[in-house]
């Protein structure tokens, strides 16, 4: 491996900019870090070069731990976006700089310099000064300068960003050819998708400091694992369907399931992705030679050279929810983006307002389904905790948010401003109190994974019981304003559920770069009990780590209520994950037992109550 990053994390003034990034780059590989601005990709590059220090984690170059080495000793070649040529030196002096620092003889320097000038196609320009060169030529000089020292790895920070389109294309081809010729491992940072597809052996997609997915361009485009990547790369239609055995159901239509999507979701819901080019259009249902989705009305037509883009609106399909492209809150229609070649367009001309049948040729399911949150605000002080924590979670998890305002519209607008941007979508919704009725009405129309409300431990759990009874969601009681969740205590002892606590906590924590402590308390230390507890915890640890959450196990012996509180006080936990007790026969959920006595003794710690699905789900922990 040329470059290895292990759990690298970086903060600037409390703000996490790189979040637990782990990455391995093979010798000779061309790796592209793709992300929008502010996603932390340049910081990753700077940390590899040592221009920024890593707060946590390890960086290895060719099996050499360089985490604490200064830049000078890392032997990396770096190319900057604005070229960063030494203005007071000629082109030749620029290229020779590194060699002269290393006291290489003049003769050897000149040889290397000529070799480099030839490599980048600038023979004869050695005596020029940088300002006498065009932008493209300057960047070639910067590349030659970085390569003259025969670096272990080549780091390129948006090297083509400042150039115009034609030069960019030329330089892109040269860059790839030179990298291949020298066989040096390279990381290129860019926000340009086309550039990434063109250059990369593998692409890593970054968002809010996290490395969301890594894969070959083909894989990421055709088989994305997350909703973020599916919608970030190209155009994606995403629907929420159901799994049924080895099939996926979208309304009445069944498709064969190719990926192991159910593994992570547990509740049978699954996100289905298909690209515009995966669709076929026809006049009648019979004319489609693939599974039909429905008949839609053309609402928009566009032309981009080789293709025609068509937007269609389909009537609601029972049990199916459109995720992307988005539809307005409360509407059940499904909007689909399709594209077809001009040949197809000529064979079946369509215009706005006409009807056409839509069929799906290919689809793909997301193995990490997107999350949806309901954040509840009533304008009170404790709602602030829900807004700030909910916004942060949604941004990190790229979740969709429904912001439910209880009472007047004005405070809802304030909350909208505070919650910021960066999540998959934000919908606003106002309703009258009392809160738990409003929540029940909202989740009936739009079910969510998690309800987030502000909460003070003093208030007790009556409110929480009511919210949990109103639907099929988990519940986060946000106890502190601010945006840090780093240490979660997952209590796996609270009775039956266990596995679900762990799975949902994993889905959430993986986005936060948080660590988890898995705690089990057993009452007496006999062999059988402790063996059971240990094997249970190993399973839990395994599944949390499958989500990329660093986990440690703790076994305590004694009364669970007492031991959980002790553990809570001994560590710096900011989130406690507990299983919700199963409902009574009358459907009521009562939290008078363990949960209640635990939370009385915790202050300033948010509480995630995970609902058990164990009675109806079929997955097992491996």
């Amino acid at each position: 491996m040329s470059i290895v990053l292990k759990n690298v994390t970086k903060r600037y003034d409390q703000q996490i900019v790189v979040h637990n990034v782990s990455l391995e780059i093979a010798d000779g590989e061309f790796f592209v870090l793709l992300g929008s601005s502010g996603s932390g990709k340049t910081t990753v590059l700077n940390m590899i070069a040592g221009l920024t220090s890593a707060d946590r984690g390890q960086i290895q170059l060719h099996s050499r731990d360089v985490t604490n080495l200064p830049t000078q000793k890392r032997n990396v070649g770096f190319v900057f976006q604005n070229y960063a040529l030494f203005e007071y030196m000629t082109v030749a002096e620029n290229i020779e700089f590194g060699l002269s620092v290393r006291k290489v003889s003049r003769k050897a320097r000149q040889l290397k310099r000529d070799e480099m000038l030839e490599l980048v196609g600038l023979v004869g320009l050695g005596d020029r000064t940088p300002h006498q060169l065009s932008g493209g030529q300057q960047q070639r000089v910067a590349l030659a300068r970085a390569l003259a020292l025969e670096p272990d790895v080549l780091l390129l920070d948006e090297p083509l960003g400042a150039l115009d389109a034609k030069i960019r294309g030329d330089l892109r081809r040269s860059l790839k050819a030179i990298q291949r010729q020298l066989g040096v491992a390279a990381i290129l940072v860019t926000h340009d998708q086309e550039e990434a597809f063109d250059l990369a052996d593998r692409i890593g997609v970054m968002s809010y400091g996290r490395l969301v997915e890594v894969g070959s361009p083909r894989d990421l485009y055709h088989h994305p694992q997350t909703e973020f990547v599916a919608s970030f790369l190209g155009t994606a239609n995403i629907l929420l369907g159901q799994t049924q055995g080895n099939q996926i159901r979208i309304g009445p239509h069944k498709f064969d399931l190719s990926t192991e999507a159910a593994r992570f979701s547990g509740d049978g819901r699954v996100q289905v992705v298909f690209r515009p080019e995966d669709l076929l259009l026809a006049r009648g249902k019979a004319a489609l030679d693939c599974t039909p989705l429905g008949e839609g009305v053309v609402t928009n037509l566009g032309f981009n050279g080789p293709n025609e883009r068509i937007r269609l609106e389909l009537p609601a399909i029972p049990g199916v929810r459109a995720i992307a492209p988005t539809v307005p809150f409360g509407k059940q229609n499904i909007v689909i983006e399709a594209s077809r070649s001009t040949d197809h367009a000529a064979a079946l001309p369509l215009s706005v307002g006409e009807k056409a049948w839509v069929g799906i040729q290919r689809l793909h399911t997301l193995s990490h389904p997107g999350l949806s949150f309901l954040v509840v605000t009533d304008g009170s002080l404790r709602s602030q905790s829900a807004i700030s924590l909910g916004g942060y979670l949604a941004r990190m998890a790229h979740a969709r948010i429904i912001l439910l305002g209880i009472g007047d519209d004005e405070q809802l607008q304030d909350a909208r401003k505070q919650i910021g941007s960066g999540m998959a979508s934000v919908e606003l919704h106002t309703d009258g109190g009392p809160a738990h009725f409003a929540i029940a009405r909202s989740v009936e129309k739009n079910p969510v994974d998690l309800v987030i409300v502000g909460w003070r431990p003093l208030e007790g759990l009556g409110f929480a019981e009511q919210i949990l009874q109103s639907g099929d969601h988990h519940l986060l009681l946000a106890a502190h304003p601010g945006t840090r969740l780093e240490n979660a205590l997952v209590c796996a002892s609270s009775g039956e559920p266990g596995k679900d606590d762990v799975m949902f906590a994993g889905r959430l924590l993986r986005h936060l770069g948080a660590q988890a402590t898995l705690l089990t308390a057993i009452e007496n230390n006999n062999d059988r009990q402790s063996r059971l507890a240990e094997s249970f915890m190993d399973g839990g640890k395994h599944s949390l780590e499958m989500f990329g959450v660093p986990t440690q196990n703790k076994l305590r012996i004694g009364e669970p209520e007492v031991e959980i509180v002790k553990e809570m006080r001994s560590g710096k936990y900011d989130l406690m994950v507990l299983g919700t007790p199963l409902p009574n026969r009358d459907g009521r959920i009562s939290m008078t037992g363990l949960v209640n006595s635990v939370i009385k003794n915790t202050d300033n710690c948010s509480l995630l109550l995970v609902r058990s699905h164990y009675h109806k789900n079929q997955f097992t922990l491996n």
Partner: protein
Amino acid sequence: MNTLTAKTQAVIRRRSPLPWRHWGIRTIAISYLVVMLIIPLLVILQDGLREGLGELWRQVTLPIAWHALKLTLWTSAVMMLINTIMGTLTAFILVRYDFPGKSFLNAVIDLPLAIPTLVTGVMLVILLGPQQAIGAWLKETFHFSIIFAPPGIILALLYLTFPFVVRSVQPVLLELDLAQEHAAATLGAGGWTIFRRIILPPLTLPILTGALLSFARAIGEFGSIVIVAGNIPLYSQTAAVYVFGEVESENRLGASAVSVVMVTIAFGLMMFANYLRNRSRFGFRKENE
């Protein structure tokens, strides 16, 4: 981006929309300049050369006058050297580092320009005079006096000219591209090499300009030195104080002669500094933009 566009832009300059290009206003401005600046200079030149170049030379080479001129030049030179190093360092710290009180320090740097120079002299005497703690201790322990001796002159000059180098280096330093330093670091260059080969070249001109200006300013300094130096002829009397003495004793020719030399030196330095500054402004850095 390239040379051509920069030049073309310079040629096709848009007309000023203000009416100030008219002759009347130009005449007023130029006349003012002539009356206020040029005529007094010409008068002193004419006065100094009244008895011919030989007489001027004789007046200047009188032992006391000659010593005063030499003292002025060497104390100014020492000041310039220290000021160049410390001024560059100060500018560097102000631009590159954050520390408590930074903005206060930044504001205080210009203070010497506002404080009456006489007050500067008084401050130094109070601080370091032979009757004061520090001065007395230095005198007793090292037989070294600052006040009423050449070191006092240098101190006073340093105080007065503190802003010059700092203020001419600071803006250039602010504009430097950090990426170049990072690039040098990735190429293996250590801190000192980066400073010498990457940071220093663009700073050379501003440092030099600042140093020359501070020198020119120092040559004519009177107010603080008259308090600090003790003004002992052939020991601690500078040219400016000498001129004052000659005016007092009604030796106008002596006063004018030394004045002419001082004006010539100062004028020459100013012209040179100006030339350097223009070079840095319209030199190759400019074409780059």
